[in-house]
């Protein structure tokens, strides 16, 4: 399969070096229906998204707000598992060229086996991982060589409480982009960005980091997308997209993306 030779970090880097602001979309695999994963990916590519985060559902998603948590519960109820997701993604690289990132909690990965998980990611053409509850030091100590062996990029989060020194450390450990959590919160749409958030966005911009930042949490429409990307390379939409899928299903994806970025 071609994905084995294509280096995923390059696919991510190509996307990240595109001019303009990037739109990344998160969805929970197995929601609203078990078999929606591939149709959603197809539609996102056709609609012009720049990056996709595929959520691996977890029973206890403690960094997520109610919308994503509910989608995870339903996805698990629909029968989604780690093995099932990899089966669904088999052959995805024949029709989708978007960078694909798997996002999930660490325990299911640990149970699958970190090495086996990374191997399957590489086989189906996944480019990177976001595991919010795998801390930086643990990653560096135990898992970095495994991800590197399979050409996977690890994406780390920062929040307004993250110190500049820590942000530099995370920047050094990163190899694609930094996931910038917009505020002290779990996932979910908020009402606009206040002055504290603007100050935070400006502070991060002024650090002149090596890796671009994508802002996530609290972005759900054209206005918040524009506000979030004033000082960052791109933004991530999750909960609002989950709600769209709940209300309109796969058919609503193209118009949703068009509204965010006309």
């Amino acid at each position: 399969m071609s994905s084995a030779s294509a280096t995923p970090v390059n696919r991510l880097h190509t996307a990240l070096s595109k001019p303009g602001k990037l739109l990344s979309i998160y969805f929970t695999a197995g929601f609203p229906r078990l078999e929606d994963t591939v149709p959603i990916l197809r539609e996102l590519e056709a609609a012009g998204a720049d990056l996709v985060e595929i959520g691996l559902p977890f029973s206890d998603p403690l960094a997520d707000g109610p919308t994503i948590q509910q989608s995870s519960t339903e996805a698990l109820h629909n029968g989604m598992t780690t093995a099932r997701l990899f089966e669904q993604l088999e052959g995805i690289r024949r029709e989708v060229s978007l960078p694909l990132i798997l996002m999930g909690y660490f325990n299911p990965v640990l149970q699958f086996g970190v090495e086996a998980f990374c191997r399957r990611c590489a086989e189906v053409g996944i480019d990177g991982l976001i595991l919010p509850d795998l801390p930086l030091d643990s990653y560096e100590r135990e898992y970095r060589p495994i991800l590197e062996r399979y050409g996977l990029s690890m994406v780390f989060l920062i929040s307004p409480q993250t110190s500049n020194a820590r942000i530099r450390q995370i920047d050094d450990a990163s190899d694609s982009f930094i996931y910038m959590v917009s505020s002290a919160s779990t996932t979910g749409v908020q009402k606009g960005f206040g002055t504290a958030q603007q100050a935070y966005f400006e502070r991060i911009e002024s650090l002149g980091l090596q890796h671009p930042q994508l802002v996530g949490f609290g972005i759900g429409d054209a206005d918040s997308f524009r506000a979030a990307t004033t000082h960052a390379k791109g933004a991530i939409i999750g909960s609002a997209f989950i709600r769209l899928l709940r209300e309109e299903g796969v058919a609503g994806i193209r118009s949703f993306i068009k509204k965010i970025r006309p």
Partner: protein, 395 residues
């Protein structure tokens, strides 16, 4: 420091650590860098000890249980944590943590609770210190623990229902963690057991270690030796057990027994026997033994005791189990209920059903005749009256 205590990375052998999202890193890092210094401060210790004495009612008695001893042919002592203010050992930890929260300048307290004992103990110290308190409790638990919900409200706490997932303790813990993510600066999260990210398991164990400290001196006085042959406690998350074991971990002649809740039986699918049914994984930011599906989804345990139906176990206990330092023994609902009733009839003490699991090891023959045994009587059974009534058809 022996191998049974936490190492500098926050691990007990392979268990423990702090698998937290980055949003919580500053909070947990603040605690990690401060807690040992604060605990070592003589002024902190003086305040902590004074409240344990004057407010909680410590030291709690080490009671020689004459009739239980006669029946089982051993010398059996009961460490009377049930006589603590609020009716269980939980308050030792909440007193310690609220003093620590004040030192850190925190102005708002959150907690999780299952049966409501830790929620009540947290609401109590928040009232004492005049701090606002939010307690997360599973919606299912709110419905079945109405008296404790009322106690928390009477103490001025706000009780918020966790309506996600299975709507019990693990979900209440998830909600409390989410609250902390959303309020990282002003809020301290008082975790109720030796679970969660490092340094919580060690910090809570240290606050509870007053139990084993007292047992040592009380047993010395009563028996002329500080060490029992057998030391027994029940383990859910494991805070009362951690406190009872703490000063004995490095004394290998003391055999440590841990009673865990087998529910209707280890193999019935309705059990909370984590050592028997759990595999290594991550729950609430700690690597430990936990009950989960093959796919790594955390499953809902069952026990008649609301304080023991936690799908994981503190990382210290996972380590004690893995190294063989402690022997874990599953106790069914039926065995526990009989043991609770027996203590009531023989000694005039109605134990919490959690505690009844520890007492059941006597009838199960886990303590050889002629031994000197200490059982940690972690809580009183008033809160469980309805369960006793229903089970024994007392009404």
């Amino acid at each position: 420091m022996s191998s049974y205590h936490v190492d500098e990375n926050g691990f007990y052998g392979e268990f423990g650590g702090a698998f937290i999202p980055e949003m919580l890193y500053p909070n947990v890092e603040e605690l990690r860098t401060c807690y040992l210094d604060i605990l070592a401060d003589p002024a902190f210790q003086a305040e902590f000890r004074q409240l344990l004495s004057d407010y909680v009612g410590r030291p709690t008695p080490l009671y020689y249980s004459v009739r239980l001893s006669e029946k089982y042919g051993s010398k059996i002592y009961l460490k009377r944590e049930d006589l603590c203010h609020t009716g269980a050992h939980k308050v030792n930890n909440t007193i310690g943590q609220i003093l620590l929260a004040k030192r850190l300048g925190k102005t708002r307290i959150i907690a999780e609770t299952g049966a409501g004992q830790h929620g009540v103990a947290t609401a109590t110290v928040c009232a004492l210190m005049g701090l606002p308190c939010v307690v997360y409790m599973g919606a299912v638990d709110i419905a079945r623990q109405a008296p404790n919900v009322a106690r928390m409200k009477l103490l001025g706490a706000e009780v918020r229902a966790a309506t996600s997932g299975s709507r019990t303790l693990k979900d209440a813990t998830n909600e409390a963690i989410r609250d902390w993510i959303n309020n990282p600066v002003d809020t301290h999260y008082i975790i109720g057991s030796v679970v969660g990210p490092h340094p919580y398991p060690d910090m809570v164990a240290r606050f509870q270690s007053v139990i084993s400290e007292e047992i040592q001196s009380q047993l010395q006085e009563a028996e002329g030796r500080p060490d029992p042959d057998y030391l027994i406690a029940c383990v859910g998350g494991g805070s009362n057990a951690a406190g009872a074991y703490y000063h004995y971990l490095d004394r290998p002649d003391v055999k440590i027994l841990a009673a865990e809740a087998a529910g209707k039986g280890v193999d019935t699918g309705e059990s909370a026997a984590t050592s028997a049914l759990g595999r290594v994984g991550i729950i609430h930011a700690s690597k430990t033994l936990l009950m989960q599906t093959d796919d790594g989804q955390i499953t809902e345990p069952y026990s008649i005791s609301a304080g023991l139906d936690y799908p994981g176990v503190g990382p210290l206990h996972a380590h004690l189990f893995a190294t063989g330092r402690a022997t874990f023994i599953p106790v069914t609902d039926a065995e526990a209920m009989q043991a609770g009733r027996e203590l009531a009839e023989l000694e005039g003490i109605i134990p919490a059903i959690e505690t009844s699991h520890a007492l059941a090891l006597l009838a199960m023959g886990s303590v050889p005749k002629g031994s000197l045994a200490v059982i940690n009587l972690s809580g009183r059974g008033d809160k469980d009256l309805q369960t006793y009534i229903d089970y024994f058809k007392l009404a």
